[in-house]
């Protein structure tokens, strides 16, 4: 063995990690080579230094206890952390759910105590969407458009007036209010508001209040009227006239209240609405107004006519002739005929539609009952809505008086259908008179 071979096995030899035979050979070489022997001894010294563990100080006696305490603390912290996480989670959930619960409670309160939200407007949109397409001229804003726009804008509505569909159906019950629903032009300033179902009036609400247009603020309108009467519709054709349609909750019957401003210059002859305007006042016939204008006007003068008048809105000419003094007939009344020609495209004249039987009664004021006619052939909705009443005869009765308010005179006319007993109409009129 030479020195190079010795160096190859030097560290293993110093570690006693060589076979016995090789170890003997290496021992022999160390004895023969002093340089390799010294190198070997240096290696052994190095190993002794590297393997020396005596200088390693002892750990503290409480080392294990400290470790275990740390572990226990960390364990408890972990448990507390998990607990805190749970508490934090609960807090988060509470922070989220609490406002939702409040909102839910408010919604429930609103729902059960009748504070309407968008619910009513949604109903309006739905109802009006189902309403029939109405015949209208270009540029006119119908009541349906007004309702739809109101539903789109979701404006707060007056809750005291039934929805237009309800009022329309109530009007169709007497066969009179179709035109109110149909011909609310922009210049008619038709306020149609809606409310919940009138069949279930809520005691907490005042259903008989009236939303007045600005020009009619000083008009004498009933206040604190009995809740048995619900103002379903307010119609004003011009600044001189205001008509309020009331619905009687108990019976479903309607009556109208017309407030007509009387020209002070001619106190004995109130300003009468034009013929086409009267079409909107279906419970009142122009002839009735004409005849009532001839009567002495005072609070005590209650003129219960009780005569049958055509409930159809298109037969004003006939009604005028029929409810008059009996001196005019439809054929002999050119001015009235000219008035009707304004709406002749939409509304057929009575001469064309009325049967002979009815026309034969025109000359008889006592026989003023006229069957309801279909005013328009293409108005299928009207036909369906008035299907129940097509064969019914509807009479109109009026009670009229005059009041003075702010040095202005107003003629008050309460009209009811024949289904409304005269005594009840009289009672209603008295109640209105007291509330003015």
């Amino acid at each position: 063995m030479n020195c190079q071979q010795f160096y190859k096995h030097l560290w293993d030899y110093a570690d006693h990690n060589v076979p016995k035979s090789l170890e003997k050979t290496l021992d022999k070489h160390c004895l023969e080579c002093e340089n390799c022997a010294r190198t070997y001894r240096l290696t052994v010294v190095e190993n002794g230094v590297l393997q020396n563990k005596s200088d390693i100080p002892d750990l503290a006696e409480d080392f294990t206890a400290r470790i275990m305490n740390t572990i226990y603390q960390n364990h408890n912290k972990a448990q507390l952390a998990s607990l805190n996480n749970w508490k934090h989670f609960v807090k988060k959930i509470s922070a989220i759910t609490a406002p939702l619960m409040v909102v839910a409670c408010l919604l429930l309160i609103f729902y059960f105590y009748g504070i309407p939200v968008n619910h009513d407007n949604t109903q309006i949109a739905d109802i009006t969407a189902e309403s029939p397409p109405q015949k209208q001229s270009a540029g006119e804003n119908t009541s349906q458009d007004i309702i739809l726009s109101a539903a789109d804008e979701i404006k707060p509505v007056n809750n005291t007036v039934p929805s237009p569909a309800v009022s329309a159906s109530a009007s169709d019950k007497t066969g009179n209010f179709r035109q109110d629903y149909e011909t609310s032009a922009a210049d008619s300033y038709d306020y149609i508001n809606q409310t919940d179902e009138p069949s279930k009036p809520e005691p907490s609400r005042s259903n008989n209040s009236v939303f007045l247009p600005p020009d009619f603020a000083d008009y004498p309108v009933p206040v604190n009227l009995s809740e048995r009467y619900t103002a379903s519709q307010t119609i004003n054709t011009d600044e001189q006239e205001l008509t309020i349609i009331y619905n009687i909750a108990a019976t479903g019957e309607n009556f109208s209240l017309q407030i007509l401003k009387i020209d002070n210059s001619s106190p004995e002859s109130p300003v009468l609405p034009e013929a086409d305007v009267i079409q909107d006042m279906d419970l009142m016939s122009q002839s009735d107004i004409n005849s009532s204008s001839d009567l002495p006007v005072n609070d005590q003068n209650i003129n219960n006519r009780g005569n049958g008048i055509d409930a159809g809105t298109t037969d004003n000419t006939t009604n005028t002739a029929a409810a008059g003094n009996g001196t005019d007939s439809s054929a002999d009344n050119p001015p009235a005929a000219e008035t009707d020609t304004a709406d002749s495209e939409k509304i057929p004249t009575a001469d064309e539609e009325l049967p002979e039987e009815s026309q034969s009664k025109d000359n008889n004021p006592a026989a003023a009952t006229v069957p309801i006619k279909k005013p328009s052939t293409d108005d299928e909705n009207y036909e369906a809505a008035t299907d129940e009443n097509t064969s019914a005869d509807i009479d109109i009765q009026d009670i009229q008086w005059e009041v003075t308010r702010n040095q202005k005179r107003y003629q008050i006319t309460v009209s009811g259908s024949a289904n409304l007993p005269p005594s009840q109409l009289r009672q209603i009129s008295e109640e209105i008179r007291k509330s003015l």
Binding site: W11, A37, R38, T39, Y40, R41, L42, T43, V44, V45, E46, N47, G48, V49, L50, Q51, N52, K53, S54, D55, I56, P57, D58, L59, A60, F63, T64, R66, I67, M68, T70, I71, Y72, N74, H75
Partner: protein, 198 residues
């Protein structure tokens, strides 16, 4: 005596006293490894504590079918290396305190005289200085080989390298230590001369 692996299973079931037993068994070994690498008592103790806490946290990862000792030694080495990298600590391995009593020169049975004692101390200083000059890899593998008394296979398991790589590294570490010692000895004007004690 319950084996280490059984104790680890008990610890994973929530028996903390079993972990206390493991700490008692391995705290000296782990502290020795750390102290040899770090060279500072307090830091070594802190790192040793950190080693056991890491063992406790990662005990669920331990495969009870394998030996626990290499696993905890590997954690000790890795934790110490991480601590070294964090602190950029210059390792000062101190062999000065008790080197004399254990300095066993197997090849020399002579009775040391005063000159020999001086030369011995000088040699110890040179070896310590050479060790301090070694890089971390050489120093760690020398500690594992001679302080932890691990064979090459065990070192390869701990360092997760092949046995051949361990042998090569260990050989290079010894050569580097020898080269450093000789250079220092030569620098003192004793070129080509080994200490007389050898």
């Amino acid at each position: 005596m319950v084996s280490d692996e059984v104790l680890t299973q008990q610890v994973t079931r929530g028996n903390l006293s079993a972990f206390e037993e493991l700490v008692e068994r391995y705290k000296k070994l782990i502290f020795t490894i750390v102290y040899r690498i770090i060279g500072h008592y307090q830091e070594a103790e802190d790192i040793t504590q950190e080693v056991f806490l890491t063992v406790f946290e990662k005990l669920y990862q331990f495969d009870s079918g394998k030996k626990f000792k290499p696993w905890i030694q590997r954690i000790a080495i890795n934790t110490t290396i991480t601590a070294l990298r964090k602190k950029q600590k210059v390792i000062n391995i101190s062999y000065d305190e008790n080197l004399e009593k254990d300095f066993n020169l197997n090849a020399s049975s002579k009775i040391p005289d005063p000159q020999t004692e001086v030369e011995k101390q000088e040699l110890q200083a040179e070896i310590n200085s050479a060790l301090q000059g070694l890089n971390d890899g050489y120093r760690i593998i020398l500690v594992m080989r001679y302080q932890m008394d691990l064979n090459n296979s065990e070192i390869s398991d701990i360092l997760n390298v092949s046995r051949e790589i361990v042998e090569v590294r260990l050989h290079r570490a010894r050569k580097a230590l020898r080269k450093s010692v000789v250079e220092k000895w030569t620098a003192r004007g004793l070129k080509d001369e080994l200490p007389a004690i050898l």
